[in-house]
Symmetry: D2
Subunit: 391 residues, 4 copies
């Protein structure tokens, strides 16, 4: 404990009179493996005898991406481990929020640092581009593992030429990728949601209460429209038709068959019970006990949105860098990438779409009294008998 | 040329029907040295048998910093090489602007990504901090080389305990550091500035013209104050005193002796001639020929400011992480770092202070006619006789 | 000149002994119109008697957007004015670069600050959303004017229901919008590009030289493929087919008819001559005289890309906020917005696609000697006879 | 509920067939007060007949700052209101976290958007700077109110010339400022912390337990040093001396007198009991019940750090813009601003310094059993008897 504080670019050892390079102590460069790290840049242009200044940037930015992917996977693995437990302790839920927040901060940087690569002009890229054939950013196995772990399934992937995605990887990476196909944060979160208490509570069933409320609201809407003396018949019919459509949309929350169709069509991912639970948490998020679960839903949504933003930013950069050269298959790199910015690649798509099913707080069916009590903390701070005591 | 486009995370090979993992072609993971890169993380906590989750982040963020430092040095070396030439071709000046812009984009990320490290709480840092003794971020030899190359001299450095800064490094790094002490972008830029044409031009001398103008402006100020009927004597005297002080400040631009005093005191860095040249470029920056030189001055200033911003952000992070533990020397890491955010560590300090000497464009002494003509381009686009021709 | 420095949040008057609130002087709050500005927030929820905390954020963030739109229009108008001149002085070109850079910095903030609005949860939006009917962000007339001024034409716009876009605006704004439809930065830039010298130069014609070079390169590619002893016939044919497709793509640069087809299809915007000029500038950007023109092309591309990024970020936020409620027309706000992130809304689309036509510097046809001389500056700094003189 | 979604820049009314500009509905431009907002820019240069292009930027960026200050104050007022309650419900604590997070997002933008103003060169500022005398950014009453509400006291302020800070404001703003001096988030948070349960708990007293632990750790350190056979006497003494200093520092946590001295010296702000509570929360933050309180401490620290970052960034910008003109008082705007980046202006200084007092989790004295139970939630999700039920 008496030891100084390492790291902090100069913070170190300041007044500690410790020999800064003692043989048995840790040395910055060794600790960080800088001998490996700073000698891992091998420009292909130099190997071909025509060194291109900008290839160094190209290598280094990709290396920082890969380091950050490793870090994201580190956090993601710990989140997955937590969600893999049968009974997730409250303590662990706090960690999930914290680690999702960290992933968010990393992703912000991943998105922003594309600006660095954009300082490389297409003409400068041409100086070494041909030496890299047939390597492709698609071969970032860490990013593909990330997609797999989150829950993107093979069937959602657009296929490049006729090669299945595994065909782009060497054997050792194929193995890693295959392993990651068997884990899915989406499915773990689904299970966790399905276990949410209060979906049923001593006779009170959320889905019934919610459905009744929604129907009442729509009926009130219908009545208001029908009574409207200033409106034409045509306009009224149009409005009633819209209300009916909205009801129909809401019904997909309760109707297993409709839900199954949407799952088959790829517009829904979660089970109907998990979806209802996510809705419950979103609607009653002000309840203290739902505070952390709601932060988790929001964190997962943010993670997903950040990937979309990164994909889009990346796509624009590629458009600048490569134009829209058309290949024999009629497709271009730019077009492939653009396709991945669609909803098809959103893992937590249901959390986005949840907003369609929110109703104003003022209309929310009240939770049963007992549930409310359990949702509040047993112990609130200010109530502590010890509080007024003086130190 | 027929080859596909490598990289772009999926942009690749899309329609190219090339085998994506042919044996003689380039493979993403190999090109980037991922086997080295992704196995270069060795948490000390794990080695001590008490794995701390957050140490991975600590290692990886420092590694990304070191990678980016390498990239900045790559750009800086090319800029230094350009400025080392006796006669710098115009083409090269464009490159300097471009590479300074790239450094700026990198630095923005270096500053912003501190937010990632701040997701590590001090208590989490404690889990592995003691294993790192006596390593220190001060031992980032790449950052120290960067400082040296820019032009920070040993005499400007605050000393940590009694150890000279080289004492923090192992032999191989000491050698690199010593070599970098002999190169200084500041001094190269100084020489380049001293060669600026138009400081003297067939009898017209910028410094004389500028000085005369400034004195006239101040005299007009004095007259206005003296004539002011609404002002008390006391107020007038105060104002006259202020004008005199301003004149005195301006005189430091022309007075070799005063200038030398300021250099000795560390409040000025450049030679008086280089300073005048920087002022000339700043004042007449609208002239096309000064367009690029002015972008260079601005780029260097930005680089310096970014380092200051990074230092300060870093300092705040360290304050959060370590508090202000007081060492035996009465100093703390936080305090040392804070000291480096002072003007003493600004290399291009004179470019900041230049603003004190600007005068409104409307008062600028006109450049001699011939100089103006040479400053404009010989050939302007719209004047091209070829222009009206149809394709 | 003796006066203190206003503004800088405290920078003021520090040692100047001026009365900080003299009656005839400028007062911060008055100068900025804060009485108007800070009383221009009128939450509709409060007016309806159910104040929603988050509506203030909703209003204020939209107000900052509108202020920044005003600033972007201010810069854009000055750029348009410059490009409207028949003969654009070099000085002015520097200004264009500078102002595009400023727009870039503003746009970065516009994109990033969406994160602020995303702290408003959909349920909080519900608290006041219904009070805003039928107002729409589409009614930001400043943003629509911006689109018009850049060069988005009515025919490129996706139509909302059956109402033409002007139908969303009140009379005074319709007038402003109509006026802005007659100005197009795209068209002005096109004219400027068409006047580029060196497209023809005393018998040397860029398009002929470039075309010849490209055909030679492709012929070399064909020969290499045909001679390849290790390749199967099938593979060879595939490769030759690809080369032919590339040639065909290049031909669209020279063939007026093909070009016209692409313009009609909306995949090209500029005239063929302007496109060739843009290509010329991009290929020979290292020549000093092309330095500034190339910065302008890059600046315009960046502006366009930033709008795309903003649209996409905005779209994601709307998806979170509103889900994907399906309207009677079968369309949702989210889907409409998503459609605007397509290439159809890229004004400087041709500058993106230019990359498809770049060839390595090593293959570039040399500029004719005289042109090269004129492209370099008449006067380079270090050549100044005055340079070696001592101060 | 059938109504469309307003706002979302185009999201609107898409398929809703509502007349977008009905007379009784809300119109975007009116809702946002755009007639006021977009006519509130009055460049002084134009009034003086010499319109300076860049003054518009100067006005608009300051206006966006003021709008955001208003928003921050809006959030801050709600936080203050929550902390003003005697018994703060758990629900409200969640809101505090949420609103601090929003302030954080706003502050990130305030810091970043300084880059926009830096596109204005000092020479361009000179074009209108003299027209603004004697206005000063220091006169941003909203920012001064923000400082007051947070808890910066008059005695901590550096004085500009001899004028007390109120002297810079007109009567109506002085009144607002005076009112804000009586509210202090720092003091409210202090009271809240003092009420933290578990500082004493049925005979278990945190401060006693913690102190005992720390003393044991230090004794162990002393023993280790004394026993070290490889160390010289001199080195041993130095180390023992350091340990003793550390103990002394820790004692300031328990010694009312020492604490009072530090408060008087301005190096501490909170009461000793509040400080102990903040330490307790930080050390045991993994306990679910401390999750939200710890998020609050972190949020307040972040808010404070962001202000520091903004001040520093602002200071650098002013240095660029104004140089370091020396006033009669020997002070410059730049120097004044720089002084505000010191610890003196950190309101939640104690939260930074808390890190000095953290000890590794492995050494933490266990909470008494009963306390632990109460700290965990009464009800954990997975334990719900309802959970296994099928929908």
């Amino acid at each position: 404990m008496a030891s100084g504080c390492p790291f902090g670019h100069g913070a170190a050892a300041a007044g500690d009179h410790v020999d800064p390079i003692s043989d048995d102590g840790v040395y910055y460069a060794e600790y960080l493996g800088l001998d490996k790290l700073l000698t891992a840049q091998h420009p292909a242009s130099a190997a071909h005898g025509v060194e291109a200044h900008d290839e160094m940037l190209f290598i280094i930015i990709h290396q920082t991406y890969e380091l950050w992917f490793k870090q994201i996977l580190h956090e993601l693995h710990s989140v997955i481990q937590i969600f893999s437990q049968d009974r997730i302790p409250e303590k662990a839920m706090g960690l999930v929020v914290h680690r999702l927040k960290r992933i968010d901060e990393i992703q912000r940087i991943l998105i922003d640092q594309i600006s660095i690569l954009e300082t490389m002009h297409p003409l400068d890229f041409l100086d070494f581009r041909s030496f890299l054939t047939p390597a492709s950013g698609f071969q970032s196995f860490q990013f593909r593992i990330l997609e797999n772990l989150l829950g993107i399934e093979s069937k959602h992937r657009f296929q490049l030429q006729k090669t299945a995605y595994l065909g782009y990887f060497k054997a050792e990476h194929q193995e890693l990728l295959r392993k990651s196909e068997h884990i899915s944060l989406l499915r773990l979160v689904e299970k966790w949601l399905e276990r949410t208490p209060f979906l049923e509570f001593e006779g009170w069933r959320f889905k019934d209460e919610f459905r009744r409320t929604v129907l009442q609201m729509h009926q009130a809407d219908r009545d208001r429209v029908s009574r409207d003396a200033h409106s034409t018949e045509e306009h009224k019919n149009l409005q009633l038709q819209m209300i009916d459509q909205t009801i129909e949309q809401f019904e997909s929350l309760f109707d297993e068959e409709k839900h199954a169709e949407m799952v088959a069509a790829g517009t829904r991912r979660l089970s109907i019970r998990a979806l209802q639970a996510a809705l419950l948490i979103s609607l009653y998020r002000d309840e203290p006990l739902f505070h952390v679960p709601f932060q988790i839903l929001t964190g997962l949504l943010q993670l997903d949105e950040n990937i979309s933003l990164w994909r889009f930013r990346h796509t624009q950069m590629v458009h600048r860098m490569l134009g829209s050269k058309i290949g024999t298959g009629g497709s271009s790199g730019y077009r492939y990438l653009k396709s991945t910015t669609s909803d098809r690649y959103k893992v937590f798509l249901d959390f986005y779409n949840l907003s369609s099913f929110l109703i104003p707080r003022s209309h929310l069916p009240p939770l049963p009294l007992e549930a409310r009590e359990q949702l509040d903390f047993y112990f609130t701070m200010a109530a502590s008998p010890a509080a007024p005591a003086t130190p």
